[in-house]
């Protein structure tokens, strides 16, 4: 993890003064059920004695975060009249019936203070039905990290209500650019802190980051042909490269040291699994024709991949290191770009379907295949670490953009980080 993240967590842990919380008593949403009802939440502007816009900026950002989560209907600010927004944050100061009467089921109140360049945020979440306290937390951080602390609160609200932390503190690594010029970038979920990770006057593709955020892998044409590079992000050192003939791409990780990629050259294609630290390299799959797009389970015991060994591109699964590949897709003539959910229950992939290329999911045995998108060329789907969200790119809007949606296809949101065409997104710590 980066130093500033450690600092933030240390500050949060140090300054956390808990009042009682019944946060884990109920799980309000069973989101792995077939379909769920979203919960309406109201978040009035935070209270505080600060003169600047922080209280409003922060509550607005929290509104956006919970809206993006796909589990909440966030009450529009126009619905909240002065009587409601003037109210205090403590339980005894709140008239829950007022909130209930306008359809708000959960209420989040916040109070901020600025002390010696530090920002202190106290947040409370109540069930308006009976005033039950769902969450009560105090966070302390540097004033300039106000966005980080709001994202942390959003993730904690998700944890309290749905039983799993949210993704608003995550980052996304992706490719941006245009014809003949593509580079790797990284940004926060909310679009801030955009970082350029490569700067070659060339095409660079298929990035991925190890779960601990230490290594960045990608394929780049910067030396004239597609070579594979693994870089140590902190010191920008090359940790491993493959400069042999042929196409080397499709990077994936199992844990922080096992790295997978495919090599297409000659009659046989190979998928390799490489230990980044001791450089041990094994063949995870080898067949006539094409074998590519590997995706490992986090513990490295399973791999899904694409092969045309049966005549057309289809998706296979096998146990590592040496199981027999089992074909999973039988519908249609084009099934590619698979990714295993870290939760181990689903595979997301792309299927050519009625002329379009759609994002689909299926179980690990190939059953229950579902189509989640509607039209266009959709590509490169990946799960979030919690397995609840899928991120992907799509040209449905005319040019390639990155989209976020729930694992069941609901709550699709476009994310935008740069002015270029954005593709191949992956979650990063």
């Amino acid at each position: 993890m980066t130093k500033s993240k450690i600092t933030l967590i240390a500050l949060v842990m140090m300054a956390l003064l808990f009042t009682t919380t019944t946060a884990y008593a109920k799980v309000y949403l069973d989101i792995f059920g077939k379909s769920f009802k979203k919960i309406t939440i109201g978040i009035p502007p935070f209270k505080g004695e600060t003169i600047d816009r922080s209280r409003i900026d922060m509550s607005e950002l929290l509104n956006k975060d919970l809206d993006m989560s796909g589990f909440f209907i966030v009450a529009p600010q126009s619905l909240l009249d002065k009587e409601l927004t003037d109210e205090g944050v403590e339980k005894q100061e709140i008239k829950f019936s007022n909130w209930k009467s306008i359809g708000i089921e959960l209420l989040c109140k916040g109070k901020i203070q600025k002390i010696n360049g530090d920002l202190v945020l106290e947040a409370f979440v109540y069930d308006t039905l009976d005033g039950t306290l769902m969450l009560a937390k105090r966070y302390k951080t540097k004033t300039e990290d106000w966005r980080k602390v709001v994202h942390r609160l959003a993730d904690d609200i998700m944890l309290a209500i749905t039983g799993e932390k949210g993704i608003m503190s995550s980052r996304i690594v992706f490719v941006s650019g245009g014809r003949s010029r593509k580079d790797v970038f990284m940004a926060d979920m909310d679009g801030s802190n955009l970082k350029r990770m490569t700067n070659y006057r060339s095409i660079t593709l298929s990035p991925s980051i190890s779960p601990n955020g230490r290594y960045l892998a990608y394929t780049s044409y910067r030396e004239g042909r597609p070579n594979l590079y693994i870089m140590d992000i902190d010191n920008n050192r090359e940790v491993y490269t493959d400069r042999t003939d042929g196409m080397k791409t499709g990077t994936t990780w199992a844990g922080n040291t096992i790295f997978g990629y495919s090599h297409t050259l000659g009659r046989y294609s190979n998928i390799y699994s490489l230990n980044v630290e001791n450089k041990d390299k094994n063949t995870a799959q080898r067949n006539d024709g094409i074998a590519t797009s590997p995706s490992f389970s986090p513990d490295g015991t399973k791999m899904v991949f694409v092969s045309d060994m049966h005549g057309s591109p289809q998706i296979f699964i096998k146990d590592l290191p040496s199981g027999t590949p089992k074909r999973l897709t039988y519908s249609g003539t084009y099934n590619t770009s698979p990714a295993l959910s870290p939760k181990g229950d689903l595979i997301v992939f792309v299927s050519k379907f009625e002329g379009a290329f759609e994002i689909c999911t299926m179980n690990l045995d190939g059953s229950n295949q579902r189509v989640l998108t509607v039209g266009g060329i959709n590509d490169s789907p990946q799960f979030s670490p919690c397995g609840r969200y899928i991120i992907y790119s799509s040209n449905k809007g005319g040019k390639y953009n990155i989209y976020l949606m729930l694992f069941n296809g609901e709550s699709k949101k476009m994310l935008k980080f740069t002015d270029g065409e954005e593709t191949q997104p992956k979650f990063a710590p």
Binding site: S180, T264, F357
Partner: protein
């Protein structure tokens, strides 16, 4: 006075004695001289021969000079196109590839790169692999004709560099291709 006259006569005798005379050659010496005279002629002929050699050398240099430019003007290196999701060479292209094969065997110092490309449909990753296959089938075809394996490199660009940026079949058909470049470095 007598001595001077004698001395004078003696001097004259000596002077005349040293005067050049017609060399009387032995038969061997005569042959040697004749050989030398022939040698002069042979040298002249050798110059003529050298002239021819030099001309030939000059001709070869000129071949190399206009080789890249002229060869490219007359080059048969035209794109080969594929069906969707296919890396099979359509028989329609066999004559064109045969022509390329002959041309490469004629200009044995030429090295080429075969690039494999795809249309915009499908996924980025799979198209990178498919492009490699397209480049390789073309290379294999030429190698089977007798072209040196080491004179052909393959590189895939997947769907990253379309020839036509349109979004319908006309454009797509132009993008599913193997194209050729002269390898300047190799």
């Amino acid at each position: 006075m007598k001595y001077l006259t004698l001395l004078f006569a003696f001097a004259i005798l000596i002077i005349y004695g040293c005067a050049p005379q017609t060399v009387q050659l032995t038969p061997t010496e005569q042959k040697q001289v004749q050989a030398l005279q022939r040698g002069d002629d042979t040298l002249k002929n050798r110059d003529k021969k050298t002239g021819i050699i030099e001309e030939e050398l000059a001709a070869r240099d000129k071949t190399k000079e206009w080789s890249l430019k002229e060869i490219m003007e007359n080059s048969p290196l035209k794109d080969v196109y594929f069906e969707f999701d296919s890396s099979t060479i359509k028989p329609y292209y066999f004559p064109k590839l045969n022509e390329i094969g002959s041309w490469m065997k004629k200009y044995r110092n030429i090295k080429i790169i075969v690039e494999g490309h795809c249309d915009e449909r499908g996924t980025i990753e799979y198209n990178l692999a498919l492009g490699q296959k397209r480049a390789e089938v073309v290379k294999n075809y030429l190698v089977n004709l007798g072209v040196d394996d080491a004179s052909i490199k393959t590189i895939s660009f997947g769907k990253e560099i379309p020839a036509d940026s349109g979004h319908e079949e006309d454009a797509w058909a132009k993008n599913r291709r193997a194209s050729f470049k002269i390898d300047q470095k190799g």
